[in-house]
Amino acid sequence: MNGLAGAGALARLVLRRDRVVLPIWVTLLSALPASYAAGTRSLLPTAAEREQYARSIGTNPTFRALLGPVFGSDVGALGAWRSLFVLVIVGLASLLTVIRHTRTDEEAGRRELLGATVVGRHAPLGAALGVTFAADLALGALVALWMVAIGTPVTGALALGASWTVAGWLFAASGGLAAQLTERAGAARGIAIAALSGTYLLRAAGDASGPASGVSWLSWVSPIGWLQQVRPYAGERWWPLAAAAALTVAIGAGAFALSARRDLGAGVLAGRPGPAAAAPALRSPLALAWRLHRGLLAGWAAGFAVYGAVLGASAKGVQDMVAGSSQLADLLRRLGGAAAISDAYLAGVISVTSLGAAAYAVQATLRLRTEEAALRAEPVLATAVSRLRWAASHLAFAVAGPAVVLALLGLLAGLAYGLSVGDVSGQAPRVLAGALVQLPAVWVLTGLATALFGLLPRAAWVAWAALAGFLLVGQFGEIFKLDQKLVDVSPFTHVPKLPGAHLTVTPLAWLVAISAVLVAAGLAGLRYRDIR
């Protein structure tokens, strides 16, 4: 049988299943470089200002590490530079799409259903890669189109679009390879994301200290470094694209070769057997909840710790950068000096990031609903464990988990910022307080999700909708001059903006009280409803 037989039909299935998600990420991500470029143009209207800006960020190690070297002061070049991080998101979206339609299906047993029909051995991988490659191509074309639309040169737009497409391809192929390695989709995602982060960190290490340093060759080890060297709008170079494409072909060929050699359901790396008996400590609902939550907690904690360190390290850079711009310097004086800029930046970013902690809170709380819907609550509740004790075991993580991740964020951000300005003992507690002060607002989401779970379990998704609403209100409330009453609905509106502002305890006490009432209502509901 032809190895790719049925791939066309499977590709249509992939498109059918992703008909909402795929267009969304392709369109949204494609618009970002043009919006960055347009933003740069309105903020720095003259060529002289842009040149000064490019020089200041080009010599700042933090920005070099985060976004790479600056190759030109053109609007397009600055937009391309600024959007390097989005390139990583494109790679992430591509690899997740491929794994979702290969290993996830196989692990869930859906692939078996298809494998018995006229579907070649390579067809599922071929279909997943085909659709993702096409999506990346469309993404690159849109990137170029938007860039031309805002008036940047066509050659540069094409170079930028092409580098994005190839980045998507490269990590789609890596996702395809990772999906052949493990039996579990989660582990495959872990491997592919580690590869993506690894290439990004290599580049960051190589770029941080500038081309003259001894480690600058590190960015040449990283394929993201190659794509950066395409240098859109700054004397385009096309050969790095060919190198990245060749690597894509090699990785893809490896994935197909492995998929031909292994059994359905098996991975190249075999799963290990676990313990035959439970550890003595595994004897309470809380111990079970720890087993179910620890991976999630570790993931969020690691993410928040790294993000905190990056945030703290970049705060001084923002201060320097703004000081270099005449218009912004004016603003800065009005705000009360250079340190105030760093404070406002830290407070602003921490405030947005706390919505991430709230997402984690909702996710951890709704594990209760997942457990119930998957019929895994039933065997536990059929033992001598009461409903309240079972719910409390999961809520412990929904309450303490966000506290841990926010503390890590604040601690690492405070340490990094303190080190960069030479005042660790002064700055670390201030920034840590800025992160922890968000906690009561985050807990409101824990409370809301608990209340929904207990009272209206089928409407538990409303917790996510509320979080999205709070995000929109917080981000766009001022821009679109929304009614203050609407803005006030979001608990995050009421959190004092630390560091910088005064600490006011009353709103925090209110938020804690509201959270407690919501949790109590949810638990009361749970006691009286059917478990289904």
């Binding site: 035959a276 008996a277 595994l282 609902p285 179910l292 039933e378 464990v385 059917d530």
Partner: protein, 305 residues
């Protein structure tokens, strides 16, 4: 009579669907009670009410002398439950799940656990996500059977087990009976119930249509008779309780209501019996008679004549 489970007139609605419509169920201490019914008859709903997972809309339910809703936690120490659809935590091994559930219930017999693992031929080191349906079922069975409890609630426990393992399961239930434990065994596998159960309740559309020991139930049903006679029979067709009579010279085949058997036999004997085969009704037939109506046109539930 010491009733371990005593359910009367139990009602439960899910939205507009009536899942239980006046269910009666009485399980005596020390018996293995078969709970028979087709899919969707309400067996699982009834068991979940007994576990305090669902709240009844009407009727009464008593379990081990307590209220299954109010006293759920304390009652659960004295029972073990095997769900019909076993899902395990993907990242816990079978052995971990068995130990955890046993400990949450208040204790596990370690020797018995290892013995059961051996008999069911189950590898406890496999992660939950990697077990087949049958093996997930075995994990739940070992966890329940190794617990030191008075009552076992088993909801279609052999679905997914191969015939060899079904046999092991029957041996285990037989042992439980000898230890004096009470078992409620929900099933639609008739041979299993026939082999294991002391008494049976048959439910249909959320209502109990028949309950009693197999012997009692057989009184309500027909025995197939096949006889080779010396002379053609006389007046058989006029007898009450004779059905589907076929006479082929001196060979007679018919179905007889079991409580009319004596009279029919007297008639046959009068004609001179050369050979006689009589078969007690199987549970299959019993069952089919209750549910054939459903296929034909939905006669309302109730006791059969």
């Amino acid at each position: 009579m010491d009733a371990v489970i005593d359910v009367q007139g139990l009602r439960k609605d899910f939205g507009r669907t009536r899942a239980l419509d006046g269910l009666d169920l009485s399980v005596r201490r020390g018996e293995v009670h078969g709970f028979l019914g087709p899919n969707g008859a309400g067996k699982t709903t009834a068991i979940r009410i007994l576990l305090g997972l669902l709240r009844a809309d009407g009727g009464t339910a008593r379990l081990l002398g307590g209220d299954p809703w109010r006293d759920a936690t304390s009652l659960h120490r004295r029972l073990a439950y095997v769900p019909g659809d076993v899902t395990l935590w993907p990242n816990l091994t079978g052995g971990e799940v068995i130990d955890l559930l046993g400990r949450l219930r208040g204790g596990l017999d370690k020797r018995r656990r290892d013995d059961l693992l051996d008999r069911f031929d189950l590898d406890p080191r496999v992660k939950g996500r990697a077990y087949s349906k049958g093996n997930r079922q075995k994990v739940a069975l070992v966890a329940a059977l190794a617990s030191d409890v008075e009552l076992l609630l088993l909801d279609e426990p052999t679905s997914g087990l191969d015939p060899l393992m079904e046999e092991v399961f029957r041996e285990c239930v037989e042992q439980e009976r000898q230890r004096g434990r009470t078992v409620l065994l929900s099933s639609h596998i008739l041979a299993e119930v026939e082999a294991l159960c002391d008494r049976v309740s048959i439910i249909r559309l959320g209502r109990t249509v028949e309950t009693g020991s197999l012997v009692e139930l057989r009184h309500l049903t027909r025995t197939s008779i096949s006889a080779d006679l010396a002379a053609p029979p006389d007046g058989l067709s006029g007898l009450p309780g004779v059905h589907d009579l076929r006479v082929d010279g001196t060979r007679v085949r018919c179905e007889v209501d079991t409580d009319r058997l004596a009279e029919v036999l007297r008639h046959l004997a009068a004609a001179g019996v050369r050979g006689l085969v009589s078969q007690p009704p199987t549970l299959e037939e019993l069952f089919l008679r209750h549910y054939r109506d459903e296929l034909v046109g939905g006669r309302p539930a109730g006791r059969l004549p």
